[in-house]
């Protein structure tokens, strides 16, 4: 099964980013392909590499980089949503990319499932 994920909230403030990651991890472990994680609304804040969470906490940005580099998951931030919230190529995490909503449409079309996580 090929899966796309739409993530609509930023890291730490809501559990959405955690649930999306745990779901993606479990899907990959079961042999499914997680095609892409598309960041929308405040979700684009997941794409900054400037985050510096406490040592004893999870590092959510690092999780996305890992999914991208190790498992070939495209991590994509919507450009219009990113611009509103100060996310751009300057601060982009490794493995992440800015793109448009057309790409989300492609993701919706080419995958068997599109799951949404948010608030």
């Amino acid at each position: 099964m090929n899966i796309g994920i739409l993530l609509k909230e930023g890291p730490y403030n809501h559990q959405a980013a955690d649930t999306a990651f745990k779901f993606a991890e479990a899907a990959i472990a079961k042999g499914h392909k997680v095609d892409a994680i598309f960041l929308y609304n405040d979700g684009v804040i997941n794409a900054t590499r400037l985050g510096d969470p406490p040592q004893d906490d999870r590092n959510i940005a690092a999780r996305w980089t890992e999914l991208s580099l190790k498992h070939g998951v495209e991590v994509l931030a919507c450009i219009a949503a990113s611009k509103r919230r100060g996310i751009n190529d300057e601060v982009m995490i490794e493995g992440g990319e800015i793109t448009g909503l057309g790409t989300l449409t492609d993701i919706a079309i080419r995958n068997d499932r599109l799951l949404t996580f948010g608030d």
Binding site: M1, T116, F117
Partner: protein, 98 residues
């Protein structure tokens, strides 16, 4: 279609709204703060039972139940872990009621 609900029913009407749109047989999965709906003895027990009676299976995400200290859950509600969540998604398209 799998319906996921991630809001506490005590503060937000997502669960009661979702129920109105449920089709017979559609499973409901409570995740995140949504899992408070299935705690045994709370005032949503009757609504949960009415959903079950319409042949809509009801699930709750076990890691979210554990995180919130919920061990006793309403009769008839099944628990799944993230792998079980993936299984449900294999079987159904998904409507995530944010």
């Amino acid at each position: 279609m799998l319906h996921t609900i991630n809001k506490s029913p005590f503060e937000n009407n997502t669960f009661t709204t979702c129920v109105r749109f449920l089709q017979p047989g559609d499973p409901v999965l409570f995740i995140e703060d949504g899992v408070y709906a299935v705690q045994a003895g709370n005032r949503f027990g009757a609504l949960i039972q009415s959903v079950l009676k319409k042949n809509n299976p009801v699930y709750a995400l076990k890691p979210d139940l554990d995180a919130r200290g919920i061990s006793a859950i309403a009769e008839g509600v099944k628990t799944v872990d993230y792998a079980g969540f993936v299984d449900l998604v294999e079987e159904h398209q998904v409507s995530s009621w944010l």
